[in-house]
Amino acid sequence: MIGVGNRFRSDDGVGPWVADRLAERGVRATEASGEGASLIALWEGAEAAVVVDAMASGGAPGSIRHFDAGAADIAAGTFAYSSHQFGLAEAVALARELGRLPGRLLVYGIEGESFAPGETLSSAVRAAADEVVARILADIAAWQCR
């Protein structure tokens, strides 16, 4: 599991927050800035990977979007990691071209409310994060049953 975001930018820290909760449950979880080449290096060779990242798409704070990135590309600009515009969506497309996608790749996006400097999640995002943790644990359980 890869938690994308910046812990010092309020709701942008939701990815790392989810990673922390999953690590406590024994899931192999790591934190990433969202820079695309590093994401490819992290998920390459994995049987399955889940990415969680904050979104700023103008939707209701705490709303959750789910993408099966193994099946289809994500629209550019869905996740606002800026680094030279080579972020999660670009990494998924490039990894597909180079044959470097994991066996399964799921992405959860959580709409953020505040991205101001700060270290706490807003209540709507915190609630959504709890739900995403539960959904990822269920995803993992389903994979292990196969």
Partner: protein, 440 residues
């Protein structure tokens, strides 16, 4: 992301704009207005909201500064960690051992490798090949992207071995490191670094064969200089115009100016001498003689002389520096012995200190004042892109003036390419860009 509005086919009156500049770090815009065949106005705007990191630091302990400032940037966290650590050590009279210094330089080489390769190969190279992005590059020249990704991973792995984590290292602290990396883990980097030097050489030679736009500028180059080695993590501040000062004298010669059109402060020289350049070309021009023989030889084969004044060739300079960073990291990895202790003792107290290192994009300057308990009273961080911003605008002016007859879409492309010469880290500079050319 580009959106152009062109009015007036005669070329007498026109506006071109790019409202969301791609392949740079952050959000910014470029606006150019042309009237009667002359550039009337040019503004490189950065409109990511100010980030207030300096205010976030006030009241925190000195020891928090490296980890918090590291979050200013996901690409160059080591620059912030090291600049803040050095400044705190300066303030508190701490002198880490040479072995700690060597390990820090090795860590920094990792950041140069990963940052330079990401920008040069994945983001800037498509400009020279008429491609939109790295995905198209992967389709047309898969080997370049494969090589770049492997080099990038090598840089990240150095960060992980020395820093404990690939993105924001957790093993670093004021005074040195929490834990000295295991010799076997460092030794395991050696073969990969030999491969890395070869890969960087291949890319430098490949990029050296690109068709570079014909534009030169007599840059005032500002960089660090170290007496013994090509400056990365330490040195005095020098320029190609005779400046040679200690870090504490920075504010006697450099200032920050707020301009209405940008959220990033503009770096200025207090003598009024105009814009100045920091980054790969500035370092190369100032410290060429200190590059390795192999790096200088590859530079020559890739078409570079001892001085480079064509900003588009920065893509080649980045790969020469990547080659050097691989060689340097190899030298340090082979000589590695765990520093004992891994960190110098640090006693909290009052003081003021300065720190400056060569981030991949150029000098990144830190200054802190601490109270009696070692809490931060004031924090000032001058990142490289803020310093380059006036020079970027000056280059754009020159490029637009020299290419007035170019079709709007081509001119827009050329302007974007020009900005990417600087690998601008806009999120660092604001404490995020878009392109408009207006002809009226």
């Amino acid at each position: 992301m580009s959106d152009a509005t062109a009015a007036g086919a005669s070329g007498i009156a026109k506006t071109i704009k790019v409202d969301a500049l791609a392949r740079v770090e952050g959000e910014g815009a470029l606006y150019v207005r042309i009237k009667d065949g002359a550039v009337k106005d040019i503004k490189f705007r950065i409109f990511e909201p100010p980030r207030f990191f300096e205010a976030l630091l006030r009241g925190r302990m000195f020891s928090d500064a490296p980890d918090i400032t590291a979050r200013i940037c996901g690409i160059c966290p080591v620059a912030y960690i090291m600049g803040a650590s050095h400044a705190m050590e300066d303030a508190l009279g701490v002198m880490p051992s040479p072995a700690i210094g060597d390990l820090r330089r090795l860590l920094y080489c990792g950041e140069w490798i990963e940052s330079h390769v990401l920008h040069a190969a994945m983001l800037h190279a498509p400009d020279f090949l008429g491609l939109d992005d790295a995905l198209q590059l992967a389709k047309s020249n898969r080997a370049v992207v494969e090589k770049a990704l492997a080099l990038k991973k090598l840089g990240n792995d150095i960060l992980e071995v020395i820093g404990g984590r690939a993105v924001h290292p957790v093993n670093t602290r004021v005074g040195g490191f929490y834990k000295a990396p295991a010799p076997a883990a460092v030794a395991a980097l050696a073969d990969r670094l030999r491969w890395g030097a070869d890969a960087a050489q291949d890319l430098a030679l490949l990029f050296g064969g690109f068709d570079f736009p014909d534009y030169e500028y007599d840059y005032t180059c500002v960089s660090l200089r170290h007496p013994d080695v090509y400056a990365i993590e330490a040195g005095r501040l020098v320029s190609n115009r005779g400046l040679d000062i200690a870090l504490a004298e920075f504010f006697d010669h450099f200032g920050e100016l707020h301009v209405a059109h940008s959220n990033a402060l503009h770096g200025v020289m207090t003598d009024g001498s105009g814009p100045y350049l920091v980054g790969p070309i500035a370092r190369y021009n100032n410290n060429y003689a200190q590059l390795s023989e192999r790096a200088r030889d590859v530079a020559k084969q890739a078409g570079l002389g001892p001085v480079c004044n064509n900003p588009y060739r920065s893509i080649v300079v980045r790969m020469v520096e990547t080659l050097y960073a691989c060689e340097e990291a190899l030298r340090l990895a082979e000589a590695y012995e765990p520093p004992a202790p891994p960190a110098a003792d640090v006693v909290p107290g009052p003081g003021k200190g300065y720190g400056c290192t060569e981030a991949p994009r150029g000098i990144c300057f830190h200054h802190y004042v601490l109270d009696a308990e070692g809490r931060i009273v004031t924090a000032t961080i001058v990142p490289p892109t803020a310093q380059n911003q006036p020079q970027i605008e000056r280059d754009l002016l020159g490029v637009v003036e020299a290419n007035m007859g170019m079709a709007d879409d081509d001119l827009k492309w050329r302007c974007e390419q020009t900005i990417r010469n600087y690998d601008p880290c806009i999120s660092c500079a604001t404490h995020f860009l878009d392109l408009r050319v207006e002809r009226d």
